[in-house]
Symmetry: C2
Subunit: 155 residues, 2 copies
């Protein structure tokens, strides 16, 4: 069963490349043995750098299930998620992730996944993209408003 | 100038909470001194766990500029980006990030940013969300298709 889902994902990734929709990646969200949503990499065809297969699949699954949390759902992805997608997986609270390729495979094919993993581990001041602290105390106004909102919806 | 952009972002974050649209976060994409796009956290109101302020702003900026890369653009965000948003910033190739709050401030307000940073640094087998390798060699079919596509668009 798990192999079948992954094979379907790989086939989607192959077709995605052939159709010139984007990179060689696809993902499925599966719940109780059923595919809830499919996603492929649509970065270049949709002008959206966040449209990685996992993000596309997670957004579609949430839309389909009318929720912002995918408890009890598994993700099948043709490649180890990049940091952006791994973050999305945690925010969506998926149960489990099956992956086929690795970040090294992605790097060998010309993708930045491995580089971004390295950058994320660095202190903010040492990163390739400059990160500048500004008006730290001002941000507390937003957090305070949040903390005092009685009916806030946590996520 | 930079302070003004951040003050606008914080005000957007405060209004976002009051309007019950989502968490206390907002972001601006700025190019050549002009605001290209604004984003606020819309996770709970749009049922999209990826709808963090930075991702929303990046997607809107790309749509507005008709591109999947934001070279020469700066991001103003009311809080240090979470790993998902930091990944999005790298994929979008922003030039610079100004941030007000920190991941510790976010944690104090009940958000998982700091926890996800810790998880990302762990070996795949030690993470809270189970990550299971599956059909590694099968994924090469997708990468091979990509490598052999003469007119592939890199991103």
């Amino acid at each position: 069963m798990v192999e079948q889902f992954m094979q379907e994902a790989v086939q989607l990734a192959v077709e995605n490349v052939r159709a010139r929709r984007g990179g060689p990646f696809a993902a499925l969200v599966v719940k109780d043995g059923n595919v809830v949503a499919r996603g492929t990499n649509l970065v270049t065809s949709s002008n959206d750098p966040t449209a990685h297969a996992e993000v596309v699949a997670i957004r579609a699954a949430c839309k389909s299930l009318n929720t912002f949390q995918l408890d009890g759902c598994d993700l099948y992805t043709t490649c180890e998620p990049c940091p952006m997608c791994l973050g999305a997986i945690y925010w969506a609270r998926l149960r489990r992730v099956y992956y086929a390729g690795t970040r090294e495979d992605a790097a060998a094919a010309g993708f930045d996944d491995d580089f971004i993993y390295e950058e994320i581990a660095l202190p903010l001041g040492d990163r390739r993209i400059e990160m500048i602290p500004l008006l730290h105390d001002e941000a507390q106004r937003a957090f305070d408003t949040w903390k005092h909102l009685a009916d806030r919806i946590r996520y």
